[in-house]
């Protein structure tokens, strides 16, 4: 083939890839067509890779093969993690995306520096690419560490934190600008890399576990934008398009997460949640009404409408399948059952839906917050399993509460509430929950899996409770 024909093949395959990626996301909008979306994405990726491999500059394949083998060996087990660990896997993949962008930017700088081909535009694009890439790399590793709980999930703070962090970033950006003016000052390059790596770590350590859904979405956006920057460096339009799709997706998800927690971006990134709570937690102690699984079963049996509110605690206790059995038992008695899903239930956007889908709970019974809130006053019994802050009525009226203003599930408006909880310890964000002491609430203490198992046994009237 002539070089011109090869160029046309490459660009044609990139054009097809870009179109397939857009179709892929379009088909993902509904569960009925979503798997077709995955297929379109795979085809687009294959088209782009084939179109690249015909490139005349690719003279050797052995190191490419090594990379592909290593990537496959790591990638396959990573796709088989438990669904509770999907947020960590996602954070890790943001880290890999950032790393690839940072490394390609570094390699391009070294090659163009040696050949004397560094224009101001190329240098500027490389600077953006490596800053975004490397800060996404370490930031996402930190987020994954916090989600996996190998790093403390509590916010880690120190004096003048925001000032120090922003100064580091400003120095890195300043060094980048200097390189644009004088690309031959190569000794500035490792300074930018080091500062970006450090900034990524410092950006995430003050952020608490409760904010992880937002952080993970934001890092998603950064990973996409670093792919865009790589597209500008390599003058490759399919990279710009795919990166922009990823970047806008991460951005939209971060906005949804911020709204669901009534926080602003700046507040999440620079606010260090968790500091305020020590004072708020010292309120007066009201008595709770404790109940047995048998009591809970009796209450559920008399209901005609039941709403189950699952939280991450349900997944930690691995109680999803028992919840499914409970749903079947209630449905068999003609009792209407729905699941109320708060946008931040779980540890990443949409996490709870996946956890319940795994337990084979039909997705048309999973109802979003805004759609189910008007139903609570007509609901006989609400069963809260492992959810806490998202059902705390203090968010509606208590201005001193750190979660004041956060949209919540109005479960306290139901006729009665059963809350299953391991103990009276405050939840993930460390805030007291007045729902537990409300007149229409009973608490069943114990492991969610065991408690729901006992409730199901009581309902079936089998061997009873032990």
């Amino acid at each position: 083939m002539t070089p011109e024909q090869i160029y046309n093949v490459t660009q044609g395959s990139y054009l097809a890839a870009a179109a397939l990626f857009i179709f892929s996301l379009r088909w993902l909008s509904r569960p009925e067509t979503a798997r077709r979306g995955v297929l379109a994405g795979v085809l687009g990726m294959v088209a782009a890779i084939v179109g690249t491999l015909v490139h005349p500059d690719i003279a050797h394949y052995e190191w490419i093969a090594v990379g592909v083998v290593v990537g496959t060996v790591i990638g396959v087990p990573l796709s088989r993690v438990a669904l509770t660990a999907v947020p960590q896997r996602t954070a890790l993949s943001h880290a890999f995306g950032g790393l690839a962008a940072g490394l390609v930017g570094t390699a391009k700088y070294a090659l163009w520096l040696a050949d004397g081909e560094l224009t101001a535009f190329r240098m500027g694009a490389i600077a953006v690419e490596i800053i975004l890439g490397f800060l996404t790399f370490t930031g996402s590793l930190m987020a994954a560490g916090k989600l996996q709980e190998v790093i403390p999930t509590r916010p880690i703070t120190y004096r003048n934190q925001n000032f120090i962090n922003l100064t580091l970033l400003a120095i890195a950006v300043g060094a980048g600008l200097w390189l644009v003016i004088d690309p031959l000052r190569w000794e500035l390059f490792p300074v930018i890399v080091g500062l970006s790596l450090l900034f990524g770590v410092l950006l995430i350590i003050p952020i608490g576990g409760a904010d992880m859904p937002t952080v993970i979405s934001l890092l998603n956006s950064y990973a996409g934008l670093s792919a865009v920057a790589m597209g500008f460096v390599l003058e490759n339009k399919v990279l710009i398009i795919a990166g922009a799709l990823d970047g806008s997706s991460g951005f939209i998800l971060s906005v949804i997460m911020c709204r669901a927690m009534n926080r602003s971006f700046t507040n999440v990134l620079f606010g260090a949640f968790g500091q305020v709570q020590a004072a708020a937690a010292a309120g007066e102690q009201k008595a709770v009404k404790s109940a047995t699984p048998q009591d809970a079963a009796d209450l559920l049996e008399t209901a005609s409408q039941v709403v189950i509110v699952p939280g991450y605690g349900m997944a930690v206790a691995q109680a999803q399948h028992r919840v499914h059995e409970l749903r079947d038992q209630l449905a068999k008695r003609g009792i209407g059952v729905k699941f109320a899903i708060h946008p931040v239930a779980g540890r990443m956007p949409g996490h709870m839906n996946v956890l319940l889908a795994e337990a084979e709970i039909p997705y048309d019974e999973l109802v979003e917050m805004d759609d189910i809130n008007p139903d609570f006053p007509q609901t006989d019994v609400v069963l809260v399993v492992g959810a806490n802050d998202v059902v705390n009525p203090a968010a509606r009226h208590d201005k001193s509460s750190p979660i004041y203003g956060m949209p919540i599930l109005d479960v306290d408006k139901a006729k009665s509430v059963i809350a299953i909880k391991r103990s009276m310890n405050p939840g993930f964000a460390g805030i007291d929950n007045e729902l537990y002491t409300a007149d229409n609430t009973v608490m069943v203490f114990g492991d969610a899996k065991a408690v729901i198992g006992d409730v199901v046994k009581a309902l079936t009237g089998g061997s009873g409770i032990h």
Partner: protein, 98 residues
């Protein structure tokens, strides 16, 4: 010439971002976790840049970085598409009559 390319790329970026906002806004909240793993796999298109760096073997340094970048991107492609499909297979409607 380089200036012209820069503007063409900026236009592509702007248009793709608008398409992204539009398409993503229509994705049901039910599927936001698979959405994130799918966009993740798609943005591993960075593999394109990594392949050229690793394959042109211009210097030991660039080849080493390119190889690691290929490995990182392929990890995202493989695990991203596989786990998205695995999650989507779990979403089922209520069976009729149940």
């Amino acid at each position: 010439m380089a200036g012209l390319d820069l503007w063409a790329m900026a236009f592509v970026f702007m248009l793709a971002t608008f398409i992204g906002f539009d398409v993503i806004r229509n994705v049901s909240r039910l599927l936001h976790t698979p959405l994130m793993s799918l966009t993740n796999a798609i943005s591993a298109i960075a593999v394109v840049g990594s392949l050229i760096i690793a394959g042109e073997e211009k210097s030991t340094f660039s080849t080493a970085l390119g190889t690691v970048a290929v490995a990182a991107s392929v990890t995202n492609i493989v695990s991203g598409f596989l786990i998205t499909d695995r999650m989507l297979r779990m979403f089922k409607r209520r069976e009729p009559g149940k």
